[in-house]
Symmetry: C2
Subunit: 721 residues, 2 copies
Amino acid sequence: GAGADNDLYINQAVVFIEDAIQYRSINHRVDSKSLWLYRWYYSRTCQWILSLTITVILALAFVEEPSSLTLTSDVRYRLPAWNPPCGLTESVELLCILVFLVDVSVKSYLIGWKEFWKNKWLMAYILTLIVSFADWIVSLSLFCKESVRIRRVLRPFFVLQNSSMMKKTLKSINSTLPEMASVLLLLAVHLSLFTMFAMLLFARTKDNQQDKEWVVYFRNLPDSLTSLLVLLTTANNPDVMIPAYSKNRAYSIFFILFTVLGNLFLMNLLTAIIYNQFRGYLLKSVQSSLFRRRLGIRAAFEVLSSLKETPASAQQSCVSAGALLQVLQKAEMDSHCKQAIVRSLKMCSCDQLSAAQFQKLFEELDKDAIKQHPPSPEYQSHFMQKMQFAFGHPYFGYLGNVVALANIISICVVLVMDADKQPSERDDFFLGAINCFFILYYLLEMLLKVLAMGLKRYLSYPSNRFDGLLTVILLILEIATFAVYGFPHPGWRPEFMGLLSLWDMVRLVNMLIVFRFLRIIPNMKFMALVVTTLLDLVKNLRAFAGILVVVFYAFAITGIMLFEGAVVPLGNTRRMSVCLANLKKSKLFLFLIFLIEAPFNIKKAVVLYFKEKKVISWHSAQAEVIYYLLYVLSVHLICRWAKIYFVAWWLISSVIWINLFVALLLENFIHKWDRRCQRESLSDIECQRTVELMFRDVLEEPTEEELMEKLHQHPHLHLCR
Amino acid sequence: GAGADNDLYINQAVVFIEDAIQYRSINHRVDSKSLWLYRWYYSRTCQWILSLTITVILALAFVEEPSSLTLTSDVRYRLPAWNPPCGLTESVELLCILVFLVDVSVKSYLIGWKEFWKNKWLMAYILTLIVSFADWIVSLSLFCKESVRIRRVLRPFFVLQNSSMMKKTLKSINSTLPEMASVLLLLAVHLSLFTMFAMLLFARTKDNQQDKEWVVYFRNLPDSLTSLLVLLTTANNPDVMIPAYSKNRAYSIFFILFTVLGNLFLMNLLTAIIYNQFRGYLLKSVQSSLFRRRLGIRAAFEVLSSLKETPASAQQSCVSAGALLQVLQKAEMDSHCKQAIVRSLKMCSCDQLSAAQFQKLFEELDKDAIKQHPPSPEYQSHFMQKMQFAFGHPYFGYLGNVVALANIISICVVLVMDADKQPSERDDFFLGAINCFFILYYLLEMLLKVLAMGLKRYLSYPSNRFDGLLTVILLILEIATFAVYGFPHPGWRPEFMGLLSLWDMVRLVNMLIVFRFLRIIPNMKFMALVVTTLLDLVKNLRAFAGILVVVFYAFAITGIMLFEGAVVPLGNTRRMSVCLANLKKSKLFLFLIFLIEAPFNIKKAVVLYFKEKKVISWHSAQAEVIYYLLYVLSVHLICRWAKIYFVAWWLISSVIWINLFVALLLENFIHKWDRRCQRESLSDIECQRTVELMFRDVLEEPTEEELMEKLHQHPHLHLCR
């Protein structure tokens, strides 16, 4: 009937408005049941469960065998890591897979059969689930003794497919790949030509004494290639050059030429190419978000205009204000925005809305959430008004900064004086007394500010919240210290009592005071600009960071699988340590080592080593020996068959990702810097700056024709006209 | 009389045209004698003498005491450096100072008294000369035994003041300094806050065994600051973090946070700021050059139009073609350009030229020097025509590339096979025979190409010139080898005869073959693009490179003065070697060490060391000991009072200069990349790409009003109207 139809239209409009708010695509089924399912799927609870599931399945790697996650990584003190019994992590995994199964079926159903076949991400999702499940069955049927677990490598895919931002970014990176490949090819040519030159230049001579160092760096093709590759990262910069230079100064020309061409020109060319590709990236992405929003609102208008109550006589299609109010009440959105839209709807006082009017109402969504600070209290007493003027004045805040600086300096002085003292000689009286005074001042400052501004206004400033919270924590710590150790007096010695020793307490207080000093940031213009740029960057970089996490995870799991059980008896350690010396310096190498350190089965290797060295008690060994051993082990792996793995790691994490980062930073910063003067006028009003707002004056509004064309292409919504 | 006046006008026009060609300012005296002096001063000979003088005075540092420039830097084999007698370098210096004195007086005279007082560079020039001369007198009166020579530090100034490009660039860098300073301040705050945190976090504990490594990195304030500063360069990246990580994995958060904030954010922010400042730099500089050119031409027009022979009746001022021809004959310019201008003047066939026509004639100067390759010879014989088609075809060139690649691969294979062989076991027969065959092929290729293209056309391609030259050199080397060592035969052993051993000959041939392989570059599109970008960059970077040389020189001389005689008896070597380990890894540090190594007076120190170690014969010592010693010595200096010196060096050379380089590369590359498609149409015509041409379509022509206003401001030229 007409009533049911009307209900459907209203529901469709509600969903389209919600799509517009969240920048979602509107290409989904629009019948009643699907709409209910759609709203349920995108409800906060459901999305939260999905995110939790993804987090859980990724976090499993930290408890699964062969993990060694303990507090300390020092093999001497480390307790054995907890090994869950077979079936525990597997059942958690099954649960996760089931949730993903529900996710993929709902998603596929909602976009419809036709669209499903076009969507490669969904197909890949289903494939991944099938492979994971098959692997899971194999795992369980072998009682968790299988050596290769493919499903672990596939896990990061679940992160990727759940974020539309990441998918978009990945597409963008993908389109840059051909040009990056060209530069990498150039780098490879550069490297190989210079390697041949090096081998010809630094050949073995009859005098073994003199070319000793050449044997180390240019003994054969793989060694030479590695030496120069590491030189490209500038990690072995002086070492590889010194022997040549000492023989003949002219040899340095070779190394300087190689470094200048490779490191200065080619590496920066990569930055230039990536920057050039990503220059328009942010703008394009914001533009497509805007299109989605306008499309959602237009779709809502179109379905509302086909409501039966609309007078058929009207030339133009239009929407009644009552229907819109009904939709607004049902739609989930920011209450601040909702109120603003209802208010302007009432102010307009027209019964029928045209498309343009309708669109205009929803422009409220694009606006900054301007936050007005609550007013200060008005005091009657003349004295109180004077107090309010004095302590509400910015100069009082500056005085607070000066006092904080004085506190920092006093801590610094004490640190310098105590640097060489034994812990038993230390006397905490001076610092205790000083800090006590300063914390009292901070408390006083806070109270006076609250008095002057009123509690609500005080709390409405983020800097005050930061300040107040730290002051309260400091006060509590100080009171706790006095309760346990008494008031400071000469010879106030650090002795252990309760949870923390006095020394630890004092250190904690000092660290908090240093941290509190950051409150000066908003007072310095340039610093504030830089900090807001950085915060913006963090927002815009979420997708990139997500992809980085995915790559990290995949590399770590691959590393675990590759290097499991690769520990071999120690042999020719000299060459290894050289190979190590080259590779361990590669910038982000260590971070990876942390992640794949687990499967090295250090203990076994250590026992082996001490058998060789005829040392029985391994508790008597020095830490150095163990580190040396750890290094030799990793080198063994690296130099054996994992050099390629690490080079790939270096290329992806260090070269490409860092260049992406630089490109985005340039894009963000230059845009911000140009608009700096404009912004300075807004002083008391704090804007929530988002990417959308940053580009607002450059964005193009989509035309009516584009919107309607897109609407008519909708696979499920069939508009009457 | 009128004739003399006319002569003066003609001469003025000639000088203005020459100014326009060289992009020089026209603000100089314009009377007859001054014009003669001006042309003499800017003649090739004079400018060449000036450049030579600057080179000589800079190069003096390599022979002056305390220099140690010898072939090898190894103290064991090094011959004592040549010490010129007192008065020799000093008299050369006096000569240079006299040349500079002439230079500054001519320059000051030419721009006139009024302008002189406004020109700070000239004043500084005179001041520098006075100080240098005073220092020279002191030097000579103390018989070269003085300890401080200020004039050496001042020498780079002569380079700066002689290049207008460098002065402009310096001004540009100067305007970026405030913003750079802000970021550096931020870096300093970041560093100091994290240092305090580190000292509080990694404090000394009672268990000496456990915090051993903390004593190394965070023992006191200067040590902590250094550790974190070096961490900012990522040089000690794994080392400083490992002990903390092994104690508690959570400590790594501190280091990761520090590196991400400092190295990833703040350092790249510096890149962004510098790029933002330099985005318009090239365009602006080209624009001002264009203005100078147009102004010079306009000035020439104005003086020519006041010639007496011009009919007074003409409404507009105009210039007779005859006068222009006279000027053109006298002016020094590229003959190609001159011919083109004369040709178009004759084609125009008008007797009187208006200002616009005059300006248009000289647009020839802005045009590319389009080089048409001479035609191939036309053969009568059918066979020869077929030959010409076959060997003139690009495929023949590709075949040559394939053969060159095959040669490279064969050399590579031999290198890999011979890598572990003793020099006495090596047999050069295989490589000798192979190379002989390949070189014959190269010769044949060259001859056939000359046959097909004719010698002139062959030589008109740079790639052919490169190819042919290397082929000829290879042929000569090969013939020389056969003459001395006979033809290759099994057991062709490397034995020493004549200048080079057979082994060295073969190596040289191989190196040339590898070098010859670079001929493939123009055949690969992307490679060709990158190479042309790099070449352009080198052109545009001359000014920056000049400034870098100036900075290098000043730093090296300051280093020599600071560290002279700073060698002290060796004491606590452990801490030094740690300090060294931190500092020696700083990227460009080593390059500087080369420059300031001289005054270390290594020998004295070595003797001292061996006395301490009770070793009498120092020829028996191993090379390692000496290197260790050299390191300890440098560390001594560094850790004593030169830390600041090296930090300044790092900031200027590594941080600021590299960022400038990246900014210019981005600017250049992005401009080039956008115009790539456009360029692909030009295949056979090679353009000489200059910065001016790159920006031509963006440049704005100066208006007539601007030009005339500037002309009326000329301090010496007083136009009639």
